[in-house]
């Protein structure tokens, strides 16, 4: 990992050069994330500010992008943060890029060795028109989180086949667990995680790419079959009697309280979960759902959480880049991220040896790595499809669970929204950064 040392040096030199300037500059950073998740960004800002007397890094946290109505108007007005996190993909992120509000990061990409760190899969989601626009913050995989104590109590093991899965669910119901798999379906996006995973399983990585970037259709057989299976699981009561009446946060509270055997979610819950479960935190583990059909392969899900953007007319781009470098390109920064429960993009190497990774996170990573050779599929289809399709999918998924729509109707609605979005040029293009 010589590269990281080299980068660290360049960061240090960069700040030394900046030290020559007399006036103190303020670099404003807006980050979004769940409460508690964003502490690491504040710590880093304080450290960097202390190390460079001439630069002050000010972090403003927002617990959600939706609750930050100021971001888009501020950027449109040519002001706002120098550096900020935001979603990636079509819709608003694409509009920010097309509107010229965010800076082209391609020069930094080559200059600071980002090209050696950022994997191609991530690049796909953060680049457009051959240029890099955002630095993907972390890799998020999803898996089934489960309560080992309940499994033990009921006498079941981690299911490896669909038959075992069915048996496990039956045994849990028998033992009085009305909701074998927690699902906070009042939050539509949380059903969409199931949809992304199951669409990926049934269609495989090529099948998904074929729809996203070529002329595949959401009405193709694998998607209908996946929707059908999801609906079936719902009507068989796998998600409890009323998943749509419960929201995600409420469901997670019950899960950490030890009332739910399983739930399908991602790494962002781990830190809060460790706090909530206290000394029972060791009870929780993660596995990948078994194949849904015979002959199906397990394909792990992987998406990036958010992207870091720099405002196009910021006067402190270099300072902003220094912050990103310190966070993502130094072994120390990466170790801190890992310890904080986030997995920075790119090879982990030394950082993973130094970091104290929460056990749940380690289990999630292991479960992904075991099947990585099968390729990966997007964990959050809703973030890479146009808003128009996302809203149709969200409503449709609740309709599936409430038996208000058939799998065929669901996939047809997806397809017609998709076609309209493509017509209007809203669909994501295949990414990639042009070689220098």
């Amino acid at each position: 990992m010589k590269m990281f040392n080299k980068l660290m040096l360049s960061v240090a030199l960069g700040s030394a050069a900046a030290g020559a300037a007399a006036a103190q500059t303020e670099v404003v950073i807006w980050v979004g994330g769940e409460p508690g998740e964003t502490t690491i960004y504040e710590t880093l800002a304080d450290e960097l500010s202390a190390a460079n007397p001439d630069v002050v890094y000010t972090v403003v946290t927002n617990t959600s992008d939706v609750f930050n109505p100021a971001l888009v108007p501020a950027l449109s007005a040519g002001e706002g943060p120098d550096l900020f996190t935001f979603g990636t993909g079509p819709g608003q992120p694409a509009a920010l890029i097309d509107g010229g509000l965010v800076a082209d990061l391609t020069p930094y990409y080559y200059e600071h060795g980002w090209d050696e760190v950022i994997p191609e899969g991530v690049l796909m989601q953060t680049s457009k028109d051959g240029k890099l626009w955002a630095l993907g913050n972390e890799v998020e995989s999803t898996g089934i989180f489960y309560n080992k104590a309940i499994f033990e109590e009921v006498g079941i093991a981690v299911p490896r086949t669909w038959a075992e899965m069915q048996a496990a669910v039956a045994a849990l119901k028998e033992a009085g667990y009305d909701t074998p798999i927690g699902l906070g379906a009042a939050d539509k996006w949380s059903i969409s995680h199931w949809q992304s995973m199951m669409f990926g399983r049934y269609a495989g990585p090529e099948g998904i790419e074929n729809v996203l970037f070529a002329d595949g259709k959401w009405t193709d057989a694998p998607f209908v079959a996946a929707s059908d299976r999801l609906q079936q699981m719902g009507s068989d009561g796998w998600f409890g009697p009323n998943p749509v009446a419960i929201n995600y946060a409420e469901m997670m509270d019950s899960f950490w309280a030890g009332d739910l055997p399983m739930t399908f979610t991602g790494p962002w819950v781990i830190n809060g979960g460790i706090d909530a479960a206290g000394d029972r935190a060791g009870q929780y583990g993660v596995f990948q759902a078994p194949p849904f059909e015979e002959g199906q392969e397990i394909v792990p899900t992987e998406s990036i959480g958010n992207g870091w953007y720099i405002r196009s007319n910021s006067e402190h781009k270099d300072e902003a880049v220094a912050y990103l470098n310190a966070l993502f390109m130094t072994t120390e920064g990466r170790t801190k991220l890992l310890t904080g429960g986030m997995v920075p993009v790119g090879p982990l190497g030394e950082a993973s040896q130094n970091a104290q990774i929460p056990e749940m996170r380690a289990e999630l990573n292991a479960s992904v790595d075991r099947y990585r050779d099968n390729g990966t599929v997007p964990a959050f289809l809703d973030t890479i499809t146009p808003g128009r399709l996302t809203n149709v999918a969200y409503d449709g998924l609740q309709a599936l669970l409430l038996d208000a729509m058939s799998p065929e109707e669901f996939t047809q609605e997806l397809q017609s929204a998709w076609e309209k979005a493509k017509e209007d040029g809203e669909a994501m293009e295949q990414g990639g950064v042009a070689p220098r």
Partner: protein, 270 residues
């Protein structure tokens, strides 16, 4: 006699149902982690103030309190003056275009704030007032002034015209009549306006998020979001934050309750 007691019983049931959710929120805010699994209507057995301390310090409520008081107090006072003056002109002075103006003011009741956040931001920005208390105050006033002009107007209509006429004959200017005759008998509607505007300003979230993006400018309503993400929430801290936010407004309500009830629209009934 029986009817009296029945009435009292029915009202008590309604009052209990109305206040139960708030009481349960207070309960939750005082519960230690070990009691969170208990039913919500269970009072806390070993009440703790740790959540309040957490909200006040880590949650930044200590910092945000001053901002909130400042904005809400100015909002309330200024609103009383601008709304009562406008309503005075609408009721006591004759001028052309009054009907049109009445409709223009009425329009303000219908504007959905969510629809106008983009142009509102650029308007406030063009005055250089983003991240300033003044920007939020002006936006608050603009978006609520219609309601209070409406209320003051319906109150002033009930003031006998003869009172105004008599003062005119005595040679008083319009401003003198407004200040010496009309305002002194308008205490109820003044208190109502002050309280409502204070409360709305105190609780508003959207305009604060939009116009005060700097952390040190935040208000309590924004601070509450520190405990509520899209995917997680901290129910005890949320409850404690809610109680902290509610206490000053409830106190004002209790203090001014008497005027408040008498006021409102007694003018509307002739």
């Amino acid at each position: 006699m029986f009817a009296r007691y029945l009435l009292l019983l029915v009202l008590t049931v309604i009052a209990v149902l109305m206040s139960a959710p708030s009481i349960m929120t207070v309960f939750t805010s005082l519960k230690p982690a070990t009691e969170l699994g208990d039913p919500a209507w269970f009072p806390p057995l070993a009440p703790t103030f740790e959540h309040y301390v957490r909200v006040w310090t880590e949650g930044g409520f200590g910092k945000y309190f001053g901002n909130t008081v400042l904005i809400s107090a100015i909002d309330a006072v200024v609103m009383i003056f601008i709304a009562s003056m406008a309503a005075y002109a609408m009721v006591f002075i004759d001028f052309p275009g009054k009907l049109l103006l009445k409709f223009v003011f009425l329009l303000g009741l219908m504007i959905p704030v969510t629809a106008i956040i983009l142009p509102l931001y650029s308007t406030v920005r063009s005055f250089g007032l983003i991240n300033s208390h003044l920007g939020v105050i002006l936006a608050d006033l603009a978006l609520a002034v219609s309601v209070f002009v409406f209320m003051f107007t319906s109150y002033f209509v009930g003031i006998p015209k003869a009172l105004h006429e008599a003062a005119r004959i005595d040679g008083a200017s319009e401003f003198q009549i407004y200040r010496r005759v009309v305002l002194p008998i308008s205490a109820p509607v003044i208190v109502t306006t002050g309280l409502l505007e204070f409360m709305w300003s105190w609780n508003d979230l959207l305009l604060r998020l939009l116009l005060l993006p700097r952390e040190d400018m935040r208000t309590l309503s924004v601070g509450l979001l520190n405990f509520q993400g899209t995917q997680t929430r901290d129910i005890t801290a949320l409850s404690a934050g809610t109680v902290i936010m509610a206490v000053p407004v409830v106190a004002l309500f209790l203090i001014f309750q008497r005027h408040f009830v008498r006021g409102m629209t007694s003018g509307a009934v002739k």
